[in-house]
Symmetry: C2
Subunit: 432 residues, 2 copies
């Protein structure tokens, strides 16, 4: 057992405290697996005196996280501060410019500045690692970067936000509306006081842009992730989807269409036979479709103290073992800036839910709008009317160009009988 | 792009030809991801002139695979010959003794000689890699060795043999008996002419001993894997299991019970809510339960040309990147020889199926045997009698020491009314 790998840890929230606990609890095991001890020497956080359930007195303290990078007794900086910019980015730049390995769980920073950081890491020939940034404890960064590395991937997609999946699953199982589950989840601490990063799909979009980079050799391009959250999903949608053989899931999907990149986070209908339909509660799962390996699925806990600490520590073990190449699976200069594929590039089946006045002739108007847009309907269901005189109309389309579906949606939204914005959800194909 | 990594490929069956195709098809991608080209320079197989659908004329040919290791134009040997001993082992020893990296898909050889090969690799400071040996294209070796490396694992288990899973799934879906599905699978090439390695659980046991080594820092110990295959599973068992809320799957499971190691391959009842219940047809899946990460699941294609070639090529990319440490996640000298946990160490629910004479008093004899052994019954079902005057009796036990269940089985087998050996299957707990 040779010299320890000495860690400077910035950020002592739930995950930071989890890393301290993990490195304590599994110290012997990690030493044997990593070939050397991994030990924290210095830490930094906003509040030195908060009770965190771990003994910090044995570590040096820095009020300014950036000072960790400069310490002679720190070999690797672990950043668990969060935020795309600000202190996290300052620390990352300082660390990499000092040619020290950098480990982070910060998906927002990687989604916005991943290319810059990869360039800095390569210029300094040091590892930049971020297993914890996507899907918590699931080793999906490693799975794409290394496990599936010999494959041309056609798509990578998955359930990337545990809060949304928890809400959708509870709506389904308990027959509750979105707002009620969200309020309860906030009360229990499963959702943030300001939940918009989660429920509007932004967190999933950050993660998706990282997966897309690894899968396709693309520069991380968060700005072009088309992002929709789950606020508009009603219990009625989940029930209709179930009756038709689908689950509603927030799916992040990246795929190449010709030479253009699709990146989308969208509530979607997942067929019951698809493995993502079985992903319930706060679990995450990622599917990659490769030209030799076929479909790979990785599933596990996508967030929380233990799983995220597990991923951070896996990165540290890789660094201790000397196993750490280019951050995004290939040199930053080899990453491509793909053109963005708009809706005209996509084809698929779709779910459409309309809220309309409950009077004769409305269905004729709707079906005329679909006909004019060239969209053909596989099934149309009109559940019972609401007391307020409105009715829901739910339709599944046949395989259609998404541009045509959008034209139909615009026409239907403009109908006098339409009392609320139509809801559109893509249907995930059984084969991805 | 620097010098190519030059491969000597031994074995040109389905998987060997797949590796040639993959390195051709994805050459540019692999060069970018690996940082250098990976190219085959020399090959060896039994029959030089067999048509394999790939152009071999550009490679040097060796009649004797061992000669590949000595060639100056070979940096890495890939062994796809198979067999625990014989030419594969001779080649592995020659290669590692010449300090050349060695990549293999040979689970039998690793199960029997893994420790020796790891020692040779470490003595020479070269990588020994075998992602393709377990679960085909699924990066589960990497998942355990690296992805979950920061965790103490309590168990690792999964569906490790695609042929058995294919047979069990078809029995269930099509209402067929084992023998009929096997015959059909053989006719279609999904099962070998001599299927015993697959259906008797030996192949799964080879793989399990490798997973156990990685998960627990154990010396590969195939000799102590308790191995049962699926020959005795009847359609009636699958139907009764389904009625009770379970699927029948061949599960390989390794766990620590105190300081002793359980390794078992056994047809098992898997609760419908468990992710392994959703693994159908020729798919494989592996679950690892870690003390920080919780449950991780890896799923994909467990065999076949493309998936296995994908795993072999992933190992080659790791080697090209310079990322390859100890074969079994820690130095061979640190691997422990665990004591073997016998049935007395295990506790769980069980499925028991008896074949008995259909006459009054038989149930009283059976239930007395269970009482005397101290096993309590959760449910007992007596499906319709057979025309031959025998009847099936199916029972689920409550959580019981397995030793007690075995005593009860012995007593029941000795009953005069028992017309065939009882069938026992453990029930996988919902939480693993």
């Amino acid at each position: 057992m040779s010299t320890p790998l000495r860690i400077g840890l910035a950020g002592l929230g739930t995950v930071g405290a989890g890393v301290v606990k993990l490195l304590d609890t599994n110290a012997d095991l990690i030493t044997r697996r990593a070939g050397r001890p991994i030990s924290i020497t210095a830490v930094s956080a906003r509040d030195r005196h908060r009770e965190r359930g771990v003994d910090l007195a044995r570590f040096a303290w820095e009020d300014d996280a950036t000072a960790l990078a400069a310490r002679d007794d720190v070999d690797v900086v672990v950043e668990l501060v969060g935020g795309a910019d600000g202190p996290a980015l300052t620390l990352a730049r300082a660390c990499l410019q000092l040619a020290k390995p950098f480990v982070t769980a910060n998906k927002a920073m990687l989604a916005h500045h991943g290319l810059l950081l990869a360039e800095l890491a390569e210029a300094a020939s040091v590892p930049l690692k971020f297993e914890a940034a996507v899907a918590g404890g699931i080793p999906v960064i490693k799975g794409l970067r290394e496990g599936a590395a010999a494959n041309a991937l056609s798509s990578v997609y998955g359930i990337l936000n545990g809060t949304c999946n928890y809400i959708l699953t509870r709506m389904e199982k308990e027959g509750l509306e979105f707002g009620d589950v969200l309020a309860d989840a906030q009360a229990c601490g499963y959702a943030e006081a300001d939940p918009s990063f989660d429920i509007d799909g932004v967190d999933a979009a950050h993660k998706l842009s990282i997966l897309a980079s690894l899968a396709f050799g693309a520069r991380p391009d968060f700005a072009h992730v088309e992002t929709h959250g789950i606020r508009d999903i009603r219990l009625a949608d989940i029930r209709q989807a179930a009756a038709l053989g689908f689950k509603v899931r927030l799916v992040g999907l990246a795929a190449l269409v010709g030479d253009r990149l699709v990146q989308r986070v969208h509530p979607s209908l997942v067929p019951l036979g698809h493995p993502l339909a079985a992903v319930e509660g706060p679990l995450n799962a990622v599917v990659a479709e490769g030209n030799f390996v076929g479909r790979l699925l990785f599933m596990g806990r996508g967030a929380g103290e233990g799983p995220t600490a597990s991923a951070v520590a896996a990165d540290l073990i890789d660094i201790a073992r000397g196993e750490a190449g280019p951050a995004f699976a290939m040199p930053a200069m080899a990453l491509r800036g793909f053109a963005n594929a708009g809706p005209e590039a996509r084809t698929g089946r779709a779910y459409i839910r309309l809220t309309v006045e409950d009077r004769p002739g409305v269905l004729a108007e709707i079906t005329a709008a679909l006909r004019d847009a060239g969209v053909s309907i596989e099934s149309l269901i009109q559940p019972a009317s609401a007391p307020d005189g409105t009715a829901l109309v739910v339709m599944l389309t046949h395989e259609s160009p998404e541009q045509a579906v959008r034209r139909a949606l615009d026409s239907m939204a403009a109908l006098a009988s339409s009392t609320a914005a139509p809801l559109f959800m893509p249907i995930l194909a059984q084969d991805g």
